[in-house]
Symmetry: C2
Amino acid sequence: MIDPRVPIATGAVPTVSGRRAAYFVSDSTGITAETLGSALLVNFPAISFEHRTIPFVDTEAGARDVVSEIDRAADAGLAPVVFTTVKQAQLRAILAEARAVTIDLLAGHLTELEEALGADASEQMGQYHGVGDMQRYQARMRAVEYAIEHDDGQSMRALDIADIIIVAPSRCGKTPTTMYLALQYGLLVANYPLTDDDFPTDSLPKMVAPYAERCFGLTTTPLRLSQVRHERRPSSRYSSLEQCTLELRRAEDLYRRNRVPFLNSSTKSVEEMSAVIMQTMKLRA
Amino acid sequence: MIDPRVPIATGAVPTVSGRRAAYFVSDSTGITAETLGSALLVNFPAISFEHRTIPFVDTEAGARDVVSEIDRAADAGLAPVVFTTVKQAQLRAILAEARAVTIDLLAGHLTELEEALGADASEQMGQYHGVGDMQRYQARMRAVEYAIEHDDGQSMRALDIADIIIVAPSRCGKTPTTMYLALQYGLLVANYPLTDDDFPTDSLPKMVAPYAERCFGLTTTPLRLSQVRHERRPSSRYSSLEQCTLELRRAEDLYRRNRVPFLNSSTKSVEEMSAVIMQTMKLRA
């Protein structure tokens, strides 16, 4: 939804003819504002929005700069839409002065919660960098390193402690899904390729067979696989529709015979695949 | 905030004495509901919440199952708090029947936007799996593979096309930050370790020196670095406070001399570091 490869110079006014500027303003990373705000804007497909994320707005001067930028965009065209997750009341008051449609993604819900729980929201809002964070950080670091070590069947070491082993033919999405599960949830995830050599037999590759109950398979459509493989090796046997059809049929047969749950990745994002895998493997709280 | 390593059996009622159940209910992955809901709950530190995410609630039967589970939790203790990002009106109506405090993170804002923009939200809500998604998927896959290939200075290949090169002493957080930038934003990120060998000189390691303007340094506190290294090699010179102090001081000198922007990772999450790096390197839209 956002293309970070196209940098917008600081101070640029992202409003071109007929497009409406959409700002995601946060006192932290901006990820929540960006994700939820973008999910809301998707529902207005007739309007073309120009996205701009402004993270770390945590001072009054910073908030005033943001207002100036938004007002410049308002002068140049349609009233911008502003999504904010800024927590401090005095900063929110400043942001509210911008000539824009401002959607506060946090404050209203906080008031709802205060009333429902009969408790005041803590003045000490925001991040907590204590021991819990340190543990989460270490778990993520360990999980990412495990994922790198065990990418594409490269290592047998400590395979017995894997939470999940993703198996699939080449280019079905093993690697990004593995990495997402490691990074987002700190899970130990290995992945193993199904190559031609693995298919003469009816059973899983020898290396992963002892851990069949932790295996999860990926598949896709032959056309999609052929397109993705074509990027890597154009006009090869490897990328031919015939070869892709054959490998996927064999892989699905293998999953079924070995009762390995599997998922078609062709219309799913990495986040969706990860959520399905965690739910299937009962790894989600 | 969530420990996915402790699976809760399906149908379990996550309410123990004195704790309040918090549900994150989504028709998709649940990531947005979980992230924003958790950010809201953090403001009530006096209350202990038991988190549970229920993704892919996209049928009436599914919604009714969720209501049953929430009502069981309500019977067992305090009224649960439910955060939902479910889009379909009839499913939201079912979820609203649960005996809980329900915070709708999406629908209210959608109405606000409809009024402000003078446009109806599309009936065709939700994900769009078209060419744009395919391109984003390919970009992420390519970026993750690039990050794996270039982890810890392993490869020189195509270093000239890196968007960012993260440099730091061992265990300052290079690898998870690299992977997050690749996965979340599709950026090409390499990372390179600063070892003792690199410090006799005043300049950056030979391999990355030609790309100094794309380098970003990490540092941390000596105590934190010593703790993290101790996990890997207890009671070694490598993990000693003395060695960590020395390496960090040298690294910071090196960054300053070569005008490499840098960041102290000791109190920051991977998401925060990534956001700072993107902002500093002007890579964020």
